[in-house]
Amino acid sequence: MARFPFSAIVGQDEMKQALLIAAVDPSLGGVMVFGDRGTGKSTAARALARLLPPITAIENCPYGCSKEDQARYSDVCGTGPLRKRPVPFVDMPLGATEDRVIGSLDLERALRSGEKAFEPGLLAKAHRGFLYIDEINLLEDHLVDLLLDVAASGENVVEREGLSVRHPARFVLIGSGNPEEGELRPQLLDRFGLSVEVRTPAEIETRIAIMRAVAQQERDPDGFEAEWAGEDDKILKQIARGKAKLPKLTPGDDLLEDAAKLCLAVGADGLRGELTLMRAARALAALKGAKSVRREHLIAIAPSALRHRLRRDVLDETGSAARITRAIEEQFG
């Protein structure tokens, strides 16, 4: 089935912006999307993967290693010339077994030839790409455990079934879920760089626009894709430019101070919030092609970067977003 073009997605600007930022700076730590079903979460995440410039990887390498990876993981990585391949996008189903996720002993080869071979799992496939987990809040605990470990360390260590394998697994984690159906473990939530809340659009015009776009895409997927190819191409170039620009941007001291003040004002725990806020502001500036990182970038990205880091108060009904907006107003007028 043809995928829906990213640029054709109507509305949901905060989510789209967060996804683009995560694409510009994959080290930010991914995006968590909170919201109801049918708000375009999966569509946007899948569409994004196709928008990214292809990666160069060792041919035949089951992990899609880059040259640098190959030096570190020479024991597991294949050999061969470098070839371009599309950015991997892995959809992890909720009911996935541990074997499937981390990889397991290749039974067939073991039985046939007594050979102990590792069959890579979903984590291997997602290396250098995206790992998308819909309804991540319903994911089983032991899977969350191993995801946390791999997301933190950037490599997957398998020590079971007589296997001892270590392979790189760095991916942008994209999770989505509805908080009404279950909460996310705080440890996992903390791993996400950005989080956004999406709602079903309430305006009649937007809803009509969505219905129109979807109908058009269903009728003539190829034509629809061709129609939006120009727009998608623009975004692709924007991401590529942003990626190139990113290392050249250094936030100034006054901005660091702003970030620290804001985090203090909203009561975001730990240093991770500040660092993420800074880096997200930098990625946004790079994406927008700005010459320097400015306060406006910081303010624009603050809700996404901090929303999920506020200390939880059960008795406080005010939403996190409102608390952040209030703090921004108090701090910066």
Binding site: E155, L271, V314
Partner: protein, 571 residues
């Protein structure tokens, strides 16, 4: 780059890491609490230092199995080469080095036991770097491992993200052993801090000498002892040091009245007056190093964090997911996975006999029979579901419904942290209803609660029946229910919906007995203004614990339920 605060937790942690990296097996391990950029940097630096010293350092994944941990016969290779090939385990492979244990609070007790055993055997067993990501007090790495790691560092609050190069010392033998005065001072300090175990004391002694070695001294001086106390003893404190005048910049509250057990200790310690200044100095050093949250908890007389069953329910076996258990005989059908190694292991002893039977030569591949097949089993923790039954009748509601709501909300927050689920039953007037089926959602629970009206009669029997039905449903799904009933126990509506105190009371007792027969864990909280005998009788009939809270507030109820948590298993 912001200027670092003068006493960032990372500084002491780096010092601990320096000592640890120079002599991993001497110190057993280091616990790094709190995910933070500082910790990531420190772990990276440790990795660099270990690589530089050519000591092995590996990550130990949580799903490691025994074969890979301890080593065993490598069946596949053994069969292929026709001789016994032993495979080494991670513990053996990392001798002289260390293992990084990520998410140490989630380590299986079995794995923890094997690691602890390896450490106890001494020699060159790998030391441990425990990364503890626990977010709440009830969650902590296994005590067996914490005890065997010399250094405990709290890095969650660190404001730094870069770490200085770790230093190292040469030969510890060049440092003289601790003299009696130093030993006495350490022992007295440990006692003052309520550190009962001797192991930390031994670690402290080694740490003092290592610190001296690091500074290039051949004898241990006060600074070294202070560092040892700060790094090893202070994080393990279980009580406030019985000394006057807490430092002003910390808690402004006065020190708590010394616990009865500490007072008799003091005269004993002060018999050797020569040591008093040194001990005082050490206790002072310790006090400054006790983490703020621990200090606050200690000041309230609360016990430090402990490991308990937390939010998980009974364990159940599963063929599909969970932590790996041993294998058992069976067909790999229905999604069950073949346990290859165990299958081969089962088949190997019969090969000679089967070959003879089948008249097969030596070159035939291994002869398998159906009974050799082994499938893998996993242990799946059943989620715990706490079912709240709230009496919203006029008699109970008038004064207490708001408090009960507040308590339920607080317990919900707790439940979300411990990953258990919550259900809510309310009874009033002539009906009981399941307001909230088992859920993890705070948002929904809060809404259901705020919409809960009060007033009307007390159909206690109906409420208890609804709770039991909900518990049955929960159990049939393989989860473990526990019941919390908030009521005044004064039933006045019978099971048939007719008013009448006598009949209602009998019905309620019958319903309570049914719960007792089902064997569900529970607690009855009497929320009437003046507790009568009804609540206690009800609890007895239900086989549940009883708690009267005539003047409680939300937090008191939540606190009480937490300590009396039903469903907390002895195992």
């Amino acid at each position: 780059m912001t200027t670092p605060a003068s006493s960032d937790p990372l500084e002491d942690a780096s010092l601990a890491a320096s000592l640890f990296a120079s002599a991993p097996s001497l110190f057993g391990g280091v616990v790094l609490r709190g995910a933070s950029p500082a910790r990531d940097a420190l772990v990276a630096e440790l990795q660099r230092v270990f690589a530089q010293f050519e000591k092995p350092l590996r990550r130990l994944p949580g799903h490691v199995d025994d074969d890979r941990l301890l080593g065993g016969i490598d069946i596949a290779t053994s069969l292929a080469t026709r001789r016994t090939v032993r495979s080494t385990g991670v513990i053996e492979e990392c001798e002289g080095g260390a293992l990084i244990v990520p998410m140490a609070e989630r380590v299986e007790p079995g794995t923890a036991g094997r690691l602890a055993q390896a450490l106890d055997e001494g020699g060159s067993a790998p030391a441990l770097i425990l990364l503890d990501d626990a977010h709440e007090a009830d969650d902590a790495p296994p005590q067996s491992l914490l005890e065997r790691c010399a250094f405990h560092c709290e890095l969650g609050a660190s404001r730094l993200w870069q770490v200085a190069t770790l230093r190292s010392f040469g030969n510890l033998d060049e440092v003289a052993a601790l003299d009696d005065a130093a030993l006495e001072a350490l022992a007295a300090t440990a006692q003052a801090l309520g550190v009962a175990s001797v192991r930390p004391l031994i670690f402290a002694g080694s740490a003092a000498r290592a610190h001296a070695a690091l500074e290039g001294r051949s004898t241990v001086i006060d600074t070294d002892l202070a560092a040892a106390v700060r790094l090893v003893l202070a994080p393990r404190a279980t009580r406030m040091p019985p000394m006057e005048e807490p430092p002003e910049e910390e808690q402004s509250e006065p020190p708590p009245p010394p616990e009865s057990e500490t007072t008799p200790d003091d005269p004993g310690e002060q018999q050797s007056p020569g040591d008093a200044p040194l001990e005082e100095m050490l206790v002072e050093a310790a006090k400054a190093a006790i983490p703020a949250d621990l200090l606050a908890a200690l000041a309230q007389g609360a016990a430090p964090r402990r490991v308990t069953g937390g939010g998980t329910g009974k364990r159940r076996k599963s063929g599909l997911r969970g932590k790996p258990l041993g294998a058992r005989q069976g067909m790999p059908t229905g999604g069950k996975r073949l346990a290859l190694i165990d299958t081969l292991r089962a088949a190997v002893p019969w090969q000679a006999v089967r070959r003879k039977e089948a008249n097969a030569g030596d070159d035939t591949p291994i002869l398998m029979r159906k009974e050799d097949l082994r499938v893998r089993r996993f242990e799946d923790k059943a989620a715990r579901v706490t079912i709240f039954a709230v009496d919203a009748s006029g008699s109970a509601a008038a004064a207490r419904l708001a408090e009960a709501k507040g308590a339920v909300e607080l317990m919900l927050a707790q439940a979300y942290v411990t990953r258990s689920e919550v259900a809510l039953v309310a009874f009033r007037g002539d009906c009981a209803e399941l307001l909230l089926p088992p859920t993890r959602s705070l948002t929904r629970a809060r809404r259901a609660l705020s919409e809960l009206p009060g007033g009307g009669g007390t159909p206690l029997a109906m409420g208890l029946d609804a709770v039991r039905e909900c518990a049955d449903a929960v159990q049939s799904k393989g989860r473990t229910p526990s019941l919390v009933v908030l009521t005044d126990g004064r039933a006045n509506i019978g099971r048939d919906g007719q008013p009448g105190r006598k009949q209602a009371g009998e019905d309620a007792m019958a319903s309570a007995a049914a719960i007792a027969r089902a064997g569900y864990d529970g607690i009855v909280i009497d929320i009437s203004a003046r507790a009568g005998p009804e609540g206690r009788n009800l609890a007895e009939a239900m086989g549940a614990r009883f708690l009267a809270l005539p003047r409680g507030d939300a937090r008191a109820i939540a606190g009480a339920v937490e300590t009396l948590q039903p469903g907390r298993e002895a195992a």
